[in-house]
């Protein structure tokens, strides 16, 4: 595409910025990619916004705005233009305030830096394309896998939001674990009481189809067009269901302590799990399983399999409350029973503490310690307990020994992940997209996880989760008519070589590999059996696919390879041995905010730095890094989110790390200093992470001196491989 010229709008921030605007104006007017240069005092105020509108009209939408952080002014500008029906999708922003004037007290240096970055952005603008709104019609049907409390609530919420729902349950009835709970703290209700109204609503709801005895085998497709393959009751053959989104609500599995010899579970019938006790209490069948005898002495053991290096390392959260609920129920049914709870720490959040207190008041005995031995003597079960507070052993009889076993992920979570594409936590539960803010979203778009399938949860938490999960899908599906601006990765299928790197590495699982039916007909060495397909409307615009694509087939439509490379080249104009420049690619998630906050705090760092924004660090390819050196950079850095905290989906920054590592290996292999490129993780609470990092890269630029490009001893990159 031929280079187009853009207008430049410079903001003086009310004449408060320490930059030479006269110099910027005169220099930029000489640039052959500019149509006009306008200096405004306040781009963010009414007059400035009006100027933006007129410049867009005069320049076919091509405008470079050099002002404060786009993170702040862009929303205002978008809103202003949206109200007037003006397209602003091609506007490019340069931050000359937080990223330049506020952090470099030397006006000349700051002006020079600003000029270089504006020049680079003009080059980016030169081949920008307009982003257009797109509409996609999809079925307004959602499938909920799992018919426990979370699944039921999700189905009801989605139905209320206007969706048709299929609720799929593997057992013969809805209700999951909750229907067997005699008492659910802190509600004071039984599980059945909590469920009954909801079950009635689900059954009456004409938009909800209930499938019991249904097992989901695998799922194909993507958001808006999933196909669920399942087997149903009395029918071994496989059935399919078209659906637009999936709610994972498969609940949890209670740990079976078969391997734990010390408790004699599975050997002694009077040793049971807490959930087995719940069922007895709910069904009114509380008795010794061995002989049907009366239950008078009960010993409960907490943390069986939880907080254990051998089984589950973490706490299962709900078992303490679970044990207390059951203790209270035992005492209600058998007032003269003796209940002892052996624990390490009693963990009852908020008002559950009051239930704990109540249980102590009615006589439940809490013993901090561990079980040291369980054995049978004359047909009776006996338990030896070590009390760590009294530092003594006590031996008690036990009609029932109840094990509060760990809460584990349900069966089938891993198997479905292979086709549904969500990630799995170390503990086997479904992994959230981002631990702080995106708990119900999974890595895969159109798949949410609610309730205990994500982590052990109380009933109330599962219900809240389900309501929130329904909202997330509603936001995505928009009632079946998805309207969005086409901004993201666009695949040119003719260029695809079928390597599947994009499909494997996309943080959100968007690219699909599609079988090429006609491929067989081509000659043997030409045929590509599978090629990628990308639905841009499903794309999160990180650019990982682009940085990995060996053939340039997939590129972000707002930051193509050509845009990036010409920006790198233009930014680095004038960089050289006498003018060593450190180029920093920064992600527009955590890195931009760290750099902005460093700016707001006016934290000084060297002005020999030039910054280029990317949506995610994962957008930066090895080629981009090498292009920077080719263009004359002395050192190159990538500023990214903290390890494991990539905000685009968890892996963009790790992809970037790989690119940096490989770029380094290449540099070392051809006799450069590999340390000229590096990657740094940061977040805005610690702005000095950025200033320290970039100062280090400036130091390296100085220490290593001129690069082979500067000294003229380097071949062009294209020739290296030959």
């Amino acid at each position: 595409m031929s280079d187009k010229k853009s207008a430049v709008l410079l903001c003086t921030c009310g004449k408060q910025l320490g930059l030479s605007f006269d110099l910027l104006e005169s220099e930029l007017k000489k640039n052959n990619l500019t149509t006009s240069v306008t200096v405004e005092d306040l781009v963010c105020q009414e007059e400035g916004l009006a100027k933006i509108a007129s410049l867009l009209a005069e320049n076919e939408g091509r405008l470079v705005i050099a002002a404060c952080t786009s993170q702040k002014i862009q929303p205002r500008i978008i809103q202003y233009l949206k109200d007037r029906g003006i397209d602003g999708t091609q506007i490019q922003y340069v931050n000359i305030r937080e990223h330049s004037a506020w952090v470099h007290s030397d006006v000349d240096e700051a002006t020079k830096k600003s000029l270089d970055m504006i020049r680079g952005t003009l080059a980016r603008s030169a081949t920008s394309v307009q982003l257009v709104p797109e509409t996609k019609e999809i079925g307004n049907h959602v499938s909920v896998i799992g018919g426990g409390i979370a699944g039921i609530e999700a189905a009801l919420s989605l139905s209320n939001l206007g969706y048709h729902v299929t609720l799929m349950e593997i057992s013969d009835q809805l209700g999951g674990h909750v229907k067997h709970l005699p008492l659910v703290a802190p509600t004071g209700k039984s599980g059945v009481e909590i469920l009954s109204g909801r079950l009635e609503s689900v059954e009456k709801d004409s938009k909800i189809t209930i499938l019991t005895k249904t097992k989901v085998k695998f799922v194909t497709g993507e958001m808006g067009d999933f196909t669920i393959h399942y087997t149903a009751e009395d029918n071994t053959s496989e059935l399919t269901l078209k659906t637009s989104a999936v709610v994972m609500a498969m609940g949890f599995k209670e740990f079976e302590p078969i391997g734990m010899e010390e408790y004699r579970y599975g050997k002694n019938p009077d040793v049971i799990t807490q959930f087995q006790l719940s069922r007895m209490l709910t069904e009114g069948t509380l008795a010794r399983p061995s002989d049907g005898g009366a239950v008078k002495e009960v010993v409960m053991v907490q943390c069986v399999g939880s907080r254990s290096e051998d089984y589950k390392r973490d706490c299962s959260k709900i078992c303490c409350t679970f044990a207390i609920d059951n203790s209270l129920e035992i005492l209600k049914q058998i007032p003269d029973a003796k209940v002892r709870v052996v624990y390490m720490d009693i963990r009852v959040p908020f008002e559950n503490e009051l239930v704990y207190k109540e249980s102590r008041e009615v006589g439940v005995d809490y013993i901090r310690g561990r079980i040291s031995m369980v054995w049978e003597q004359e047909g009776k079960t006996r338990v030896k307990i070590y009390d760590s507070l009294m530092d003594e052993y006590l031996e008690v009889p036990s009609d029932l020994l109840v094990l509060s076993t760990a809460i584990l992920p349900p069966d089938g979570v891993f198997a479905l992940s292979e086709t549904l594409g969500y990630a799995i936590e170390d503990d086997g539960h479904i992994k959230e997209l981002y631990g702080k803010l995106r708990r119900n979203e999974t890595r895969r778009r159109g798949v949410v996880a609610v309730g205990a399938v994500t982590r052990p949860q109380f009933v109330s938490e599962s219900i809240t989760d389900a309501q929130a999960g329904a909202l997330i899908l509603h936001n995505e599906l928009q009632g079946g008519k998805i309207q969005a601006i086409m901004r993201g990765a666009v695949l040119n299928v003719d260029d695809c070589v079928g390597c599947s790197l994009c499909a494997q590495q996309c943080p959100r699982g968007v690219p699909l590999m599609i079988e090429q039916i006609d491929a067989e007909e081509e000659s043997e060495d030409q045929k590509i059996l599978f090629k990628a397909a990308i639905d841009t409307l499903n794309c999160h615009s990180c650019g990982v696919c682009q940085s990995l694509c060996p053939s340039g087939a997939t590129q972000l439509n707002f930051l193509s390879n050509n845009q990036m490379w010409s920006e790198i080249e233009a930014t680095l104009e004038g960089a050289g041995a006498d003018n060593p420049v450190t180029l920093c690619f920064y992600c527009e998630e955590c890195a931009v905010s760290t750099i902005d906050i460093a700016g707001t705090l006016k934290m000084e760092y060297p002005a020999s730095t030039r910054l280029i924004p990317v949506p995610c660090a994962g957008r930066v390819s090895i080629i981009d890094i090498l292009k920077a050196f080719e263009g004359g950079a002395s050192s190159v850095m990538i500023a990214a989110c903290e390890t494991d905290r990539c905000h685009v989906g968890g892996t963009g920054n790790e992809i970037a790390q790989v690119q940096v590592d490989v770029a380094r290996d290449i540099l070392n292999a051809i006799g450069w200093k590999g340390e000229r490129v590096d990657m740094f993780r940061m977040f805005s609470a610690e702005p000095e992470r950025f200033t320290t990092a970039i100062s280090e890269m400036v130091r390296r630029a100085r220490e290593f001196g001129p690069t082979p490009v500067h000294t003229g001893t380097a071949g062009k990159w294209m020739e290296v491989g030959k």
Binding site: C13, K72, E353, E688
Partner: protein, 414 residues
């Protein structure tokens, strides 16, 4: 035009609810008592469980990226959000769907849409300041209590004429369809808990105060210094359940103080050099995956002592001698520490009881109680609550609850 939704409190929960509703085309009035949004999170430095900062919440759906820091959340730029800073709800009457709400709207000395944070006024007068680089709205604040010769010229020379020194507070009555209570929590000032001596010695502080010390954006720039004399602190003792699980104060467990304390213990042992940390506790309550903080800090050498603090003896050198009864060893132990940190109870924020009584809601130990506890966000007829207004909550829970509230509101409108 239907009535907007009222959201009381612009912490993480309230902001999430506002942005979600706004993106769904529902108008909201977001009322915040203070001059910046963000609530407690703004002062908490590193977040759990992600160990990055506390300053973000989900951004608008129409903006790229999956979350936005407070400073770039653009709450003032959204036509569907009417942000009322320095404001309070005085009275609520009327019926569900058409509540009548009397607002006390604080004086708007600085117009947040005009302020560019250029810094001119701050240079001219001490009465102007930036609360935090992460503040939202991104604007300076004016303190009329500080008299200064520079204020008038600051106002006159402001490039955008954003400053109005004569601004007055106003009253306004609005009609709203639904109410979302997101008033958060307050860290109890343990002044009355005599045994811990809070307020009697500068080196006895709360966890929130410790967060400010650890924060690189705070006064000490993240260096651990003794408040008494500014000398480096090397020995820190924390005590859990101050005012929580205590019939004299709050009988409930404040739920997040353990992980809060352990997060600080982790920062102190991992990011600082040669700092010794001990934690005095009754039960360590690190639920679910938070157990990691317990494992990691024990491995990092944090000493956990099950027991109670029995005496504090200030020493002449600024240190504190602490006598602890260790209930596992069944004996008294003596420690010398530089900073003694109280994990103080998290209590309902001011005004919670008034909201409960004026709207006839249930109380959960002073926090807002749900109609049916299993449906935690529905607290009345077209009245919802989310976040720590319902009881101490972590950020992820607050966000999920805020989304559940929006889900319920949209469900009621479908």
């Amino acid at each position: 035009m239907s009535n907007p939704v009222l959201i009381i409190g612009a912490g993480v929960a309230g902001m999430t609810a506002a942005v979600e509703l706004a993106d769904s085309g529902i108008k909201t009035v977001l009322v915040e008592r203070l001059s910046t949004t963000g609530g407690n999170a703004l002062n908490l430095y590193k977040a759990f469980p992600t160990d990055d900062c506390f300053y973000c919440f989900e951004g608008n759906r129409w903006r790229p990226g999956i979350r936005k820091c407070f400073y770039r959340s653009a709450l003032t730029e959204q036509p569907n959000i009417d942000l009322k800073m320095n404001s309070q709800v005085e009275e609520i009457s009327g019926l569900p769907g058409n509540f009548s709400v009397k607002l006390d709207i604080g004086p708007q000395y600085v117009d947040p849409k005009k302020c560019t944070m250029c810094g001119l006024c701050i240079e001219k007068s001490k009465a102007f300041s930036l609360v935090s680089p992460q503040c939202q709205p991104q604007a300076v604040v004016y303190d009329p209590e500080i008299e200064d010769t520079g204020t008038t010229s600051a106002a006159e020379e402001c490039p955008t004429k954003a400053i109005n020194l004569d601004a007055k507070s106003t009253k306004k009555i609005i009609s709203v369809s639904d109410i979302v209570i997101a008033t958060g929590y307050h860290e109890m000032q343990p002044v009355n808990v005599d045994e811990y001596g809070y307020g009697t010695h500068p080196n006895i502080i709360t966890q929130l105060e410790l967060a400010r010390i650890l924060d690189p954006l705070g006064e000490t720039k993240g260096v651990l210094l003794r408040p008494s004399d500014g000398k480096p602190a090397k020995r820190v003792m924390m005590v859990q359940c101050v005012g929580s699980r205590d019939e004299n104060y709050y009988a409930y467990c404040s739920k997040i103080c353990c992980v809060f304390a352990l997060k600080h213990a982790a920062i102190l042992t991992q990011d600082h050099e040669d700092v010794e940390v001990s934690v005095v506790y009754m039960d360590i309550r690190t639920y679910d995956r938070y157990e990691k903080y317990y494992r990691d800090t024990r491995n990092a050498g944090v000493e956990y002592i099950r027991g109670r603090v029995s005496r504090i003896e200030p020493q002449d050198d600024g240190s504190l001698d602490i006598i602890v009864f260790d209930s596992l060893l069944n004996k008294y132990l003596k420690f010398s520490v530089d900073i003694f940190v109280l994990s103080s109870a998290l209590e309902p924020s001011a005004g919670s009881s008034q909201i409960i009584s004026s709207l006839g809601l249930k109380s959960a130990s002073g926090f807002i109680g749900a109609i049916n506890p299993e449906t935690e966000v529905v607290v009345g007829n077209r009245i919802y609550a989310c976040g720590s207004a319902l009881g101490p909550s972590e950020v992820p829970e607050s966000v999920t609850q805020a989304r559940a509230v929006v889900s319920k509101i949209l469900q009621s409108k479908e």
